[in-house]
Amino acid sequence: MPGQHILLVEGQDDREFFQHLLCRLEFDIQVEPETPRNFCQTASDGVDVLRTRALPLALNRIRSGDIACLGIVIDADSQTLGYGFEKRRTQYLEPLAREGYNTENPATNTDTLGEIFSHPDNLAPIGLWIMPDHRQDGALEDLLLHSITTAQQQALLNQADADLTLLKQHDLRLFKDKHLSKARLSTLLSWQEKPGISAGKAYRAGIFPVTTHELTSFHNWLTKLFTATQA
């Protein structure tokens, strides 16, 4: 039986989004883990659980041939805590290098970002994408907010930003500043035709046009990673 194509993501919300995205791209890729975010948080935050528990298991499954291609998508949204892009990247490259992956000279796309690591022993390739664009600090929410291009959605986003500023002025902003992108996206999605639509369903509904540079780069990375090992 050929190995599976697996995309490792940080939590339940991200999993739902990527399932919609992969469905639209017509990729047969399983998104893991299914772990509810609250369960992840009993051990640590989602991203550390992904690195300390899901990744070691995935590496063993690669060596046994159960996984034929692995993608990892993580956020780098905690610059204030020292978890920006560079530190996140280093954290993930270390276990890959220990497993023998060629992390010194990864394959990079000429027309986009993201990295793909090969193994000299012909083990499955592993791709790494750090949100939002594999360059800057941020999260999935930043990638989606950057992808807003229609006048109507941009107007809604401007209104959301104005309201969030107003909340701060009235000392009613209960979330931490590092979660501003999540709040902006949640507010925008709460004002859609179906209030509170999920990011995944909003993507399927075309609220985030796939022609934007940010999403196109991400799509290209996914395509390059997973089509390289398609039967």
Partner: protein, 338 residues
Amino acid sequence: MLDSLYIRNFRCFEDLQVESLGRVNLVVGKNNTGKSTLLESVLLLASAGANQVIHEILNKRGDLLLDKQTPNLFFNGDIPISHSNRLEISDSESKNSLIITLINQNNNENRLPMALPKTGIIPKFTLNPKLSILAFRDGQYDINPIPNQSCTTQLLNENDLAKIWDQVFLNIDDSILKEALGLIEPSIMNIAFIPSPQNNASRMAVVKLQNISKAVPIRSLGDGMIRLLQIFLHATQAVNGFLLLDEFENGLHYSIQQKVWDKLFKVAEELNIQVFATTHSMDTIRSFCRVAKADKDIEGKLITLARSVGTSDQGKIFASVYNENDLEWIINSGMEIR
């Protein structure tokens, strides 16, 4: 109790390192990845390479029938040509290290790991007229076995169980057995083996149930009762040693498995037994995980065996070990562990 396991040049294992072990260990993996062979390695270690055990291991898979000259005891069926190719099973402590090597009866000098007495050497197993097997543990070749019990995938017949019962019933507190059988039938008060009405030469197991005047054949209560009797009778014979359980789930409905693990964890601790079990069942893994996680004092570990697809070590079996916290997360994550 073994703290880890290193197996070298034994049947399908070229060079296997299991980095840590718990009191109760569950071994999983696809077919032909060495689950039963891992149990056999512990059996071989515990028995100090006993002739009977080597015979049983080879006979079970028909190896002795196929080739009596070079039976498949060593990796790839090769005969080790020097001490460096010896069969070795050990943990991190030298007292548990078993080395099996060959002795050429005409000239044994260059095959042995140490000097031996000139006389009194009795080979454990004879491969052919010239080559015999010698086993050493902790540098000694004349060694006592560690208690060990193998619980096979097949349900034993009651006559065989009666023979085990005869060996243990005067020496053990039979409450362990009654409590174990009570997991399925709580009204069990007592158990006995009586001559079979059909054949006086064989015996059958019967139980006394509350509020029923006559004894009831245990077989009438289902295969699960036979399996429980088999598991826990063997456990009572493995005090201070090893209990090896091939395909734990055989005969046990998934709804009862958590209770059986719970009882087995407690019995293992009480009788100082280290348990090695195998399974293909996700229900068994889940129930094992719940018990291992809940029982903070008794360590449970899950060992996965798989064959590498890497080009440099293609087909080589490797082991990964997961503790209770890893396992709980993996099960909740929906990621495949078998």
